[in-house]
Each structure stands twice: as structure tokens, then as C-alpha cells.
């Protein structure tokens, strides 16, 4: 399977390439609400929450600035070498 086929796990299946393209020039502008929602994990309290491009990089509960992406839900195969 090629890298291109890899799909980022998202909470809502709103991953729409057209929407991403549009939000490019709108970066930092008022249109920051567009773009896919991403699932993040708080590094401190472990809260799972969704964020969009342009959102403040902070946990919605505790304000921690360290966030993790979720691990893929796919099985990953390795050679034990």
C-alpha cells in the first residue's frame, strides 16, 4: 500500500480536499472555520477532542499545549528484526 493511500483517521468523515484547498488563502483569516476536523489527545489530561485549522493549540479542558494525534486504527505489520 502506498503512502498516498494512507488516510488520516478523523472523527467526522468531513475530509474534503476541496475544503482544504479553499482554506489555504484564508489562513489566519475569518474563514478559519473551514477545513477538516481532527481528533487530538491532550498530553496532560488525556482528553479526546476535535480541532480545526486555525484553532488555538490548547486542550479544551485543561489548557495544556501538548497535543497528540491519535494512533492509526489500522493494523501495522513489522518484521521482528
Amino acid at each position: 500500500m502506498s503512502r498516498e493511500a494512507y488516510q488520516v483517521p478523523t472523527g467526522s468523515q468531513a475530509a474534503n480536499p476541496a475544503a482544504v484547498g479553499k482554506s489555504f488563502d484564508a489562513y489566519g483569516g475569518g474563514a478559519a472555520e473551514v477545513g477538516p476536523q481532527m481528533q487530538y489527545l491532550c498530553g496532560d489530561c488525556g482528553l479526546k477532542f476535535q480541532m480545526r485549522r486555525g484553532d488555538a493549540i490548547r486542550c479544551k479542558e485543561c489548557g495544556c499545549r501538548i497535543l497528540y494525534k491519535e494512533r492509526t486504527k489500522r493494523m501495522v505489520q513489522f518484521e521482528a528484526r
Binding site: 488525556g46 494512533r71 493494523m75 501495522v76 505489520q77 513489522f78 518484521e79 521482528a80 528484526r81
Partner: protein, 374 residues
Amino acid sequence: MAPFVKPSEAELERRRTIQINDETVTNISSTDFPGHYPGEDNSWSFETFKNTFRVEHHYLTPAESSFSLIGADAAIANALRRILISEIPTLAIETVYVYNNTSVIQDEVLCHRLGLIPFTGSKKGIREFLRWRRKAEDGTPGPVYDYNTVQLRLQVECTRNPSAAPDEREPTKLYHHAHVYARDIEFVPAGRQADLFQAPEDIIRPVNPDILVAKLRPGQVIDLQMHMHKGVGADHAKFSPVATASYRLLPTITITRPILGRDADKFARCFPRGVIALERVSAAEANTPGSGYEGHEGEKKAVVADPMKDTVSRECLRHPEFEGKVKLGRRRDHFIFSIESTGQWDSDELLLEAIKTMKKKCERLEKQVINMVR
């Protein structure tokens, strides 16, 4: 043709001793080949080999063994050692399917660690039932069957221990599954494996259940499946059936002139304990002219007790008082083997298996040579 000349015992002794001097080693190569010494018969003879080859066992447990092969050439001893390390097949984890791993240890590293864990199980099942996983036509790994693959599973999740004392600091008490050990790996029998690896002593399991695989904190999960295949050490060290397999040549120590009194004490201290013993010069020795013991009756003298224990540090060659009194060497045809098994084979089976492997190699090549000529 003139009858063959037989070399004297002293000459043979000289030939089979490698001399170890203070800065050099001499007489290092075998010379027992036809044509090397005019008039002597050094050709291969099975009868001669039968009479001269000996095995002495020193130590033997399933995990570790030590023995001497006496009367074999270095080429043979080394072939056996190399086969022990790289050509005797064992079963080891080869592929890991990671469903989830939220521990701090990366997938790749975790899988590598899993691969190196030595496993054991029914000898009959592993050696007779399980086979190589064949390659498909295009060279990719072939299909998996119950006779070439063993499935394992590791599923652990770390949770808080509600009954832990409030001031507890020790993670293993504070949490459940804070440490993931090799014993947490479960065997998943497939097909006929269920019968073959049924009994508790036959089940596929880690040799040492206490190998630490990973550490977890509450909420972290490891969930993976593993496939084990047969392989050889030449492919990857995890398949090697031995932790170490090595040999050394038997050291020889020859005291050519008496070492007496305080020198004898010092001489003994030049060697590991037990190599040199101290005895008293007897009246008979003291009365023998030319022995070097004249007038030393009752004094201590150094004698060689057990050269096998020597490490050949050559310390005794550094001291002027022993100059010309001692000769160090090694016996060319005496190989002291030391084998440590990783647990899938018993240590004494390993050498036998190595010999079998070498024979099989020759058998195969013999056929190949016949084929080549045809």
C-alpha cells in the same frame, strides 16, 4: 616403496604444541599432511582417526556444557562452531501485527525486542512437525500453514490498582500490568498444533518468563499478534540456538628448570588459582645429581596442577627470575568447547546436531558433484 617412517613421540609432541613466547606465537600451522615430512604417512585414515579422536566432558546441564574434542583439526572444530552459531534451525518471532501500541516504546523497537525473545516448546513438535516457511515462486514469503507458523498474541492494558496504598510509589504495585513480561505472550494453537503443543511442558512459551518487554502506565495498551517461523542464525541472530559457542586450545605449561622457595610462590601467583600447586622437594629428588634440586630438600617447588584453568596471560614470562625455566604453549588438537544454549535445544544435543548438519551438507554436495560431472 619404502615403508613409512614413524616420528618419535617427542617430535609428535613438538608438532602438536603451539609455542607461546613473551611477544610471539610460533609453530602455529598444522603440518599433518602427506608430503610435508618426507617418508611419513600423514594421509587421511579413518582407522587412525577412530583411534586418536577422543571426547572428554567437563560440565553438562541443559543450559550449558563444556567438553573437549581431542584429535581433531582446527578446520573441523571451527566448522562445528560455525554451524552451532549459524546453521542449526530454531523457531523465533518473525512477523508482528500491531493492532495497537500506545506505550512509549516505538512499534519497531518493540517488534525487534519481541523477535529476540527465545522460545521453547515440544521438541518433537518444533523439530519434526514444524517446517520451513517456503518462498513463493516470486521469492516473496510463501503461505502460512499450521506446519510452518506458530501464532502468538500479546494483549495487555495497564490499569490503576484501586487497592494500592494511597502513598504507594512503586509502579508495579500502583498499577496492574505496569511491566509487560515475556510470560504475558500467549500461544494461539492452530490446526494440529493444538494436539502437539498441548501438555504444559510442550506448550510454546518463552524460555525465560521474566524477560521485560515493555513498561506501561495507566491507559496504555499493547495489542499485537505474532507469527513465528523457523530460521537459521545466518539469517538473523535471533534464530541462533546458542548464546555463545566457542572453543579454546588447551594451554600447556612446562617447567623446564626447578622453581623453588619464594620464587615458587610468586610463580603460582602468575596464574589463576589452581593452575600451579606447591610441593616439597623430596629427599630422592634432592639426592639426584643434575636435577636442579640438590641441597633443596624440603623447600617448596612449583608444579603444574591443572593447565586447563590457565588463561594464558603470559604473566610468568614478564619476570626475569623465571626466564628459561618455563615454556608456555597450547595443544593444537585439543579444543575445549563451551556451549550455552538459548533454551530451544539442550546444550548436549547441539553439538550432535552440528555434526549431523555437517554430514548432511557433505551428502548433499556429494550428490551435487555427481550431478555436475554428468
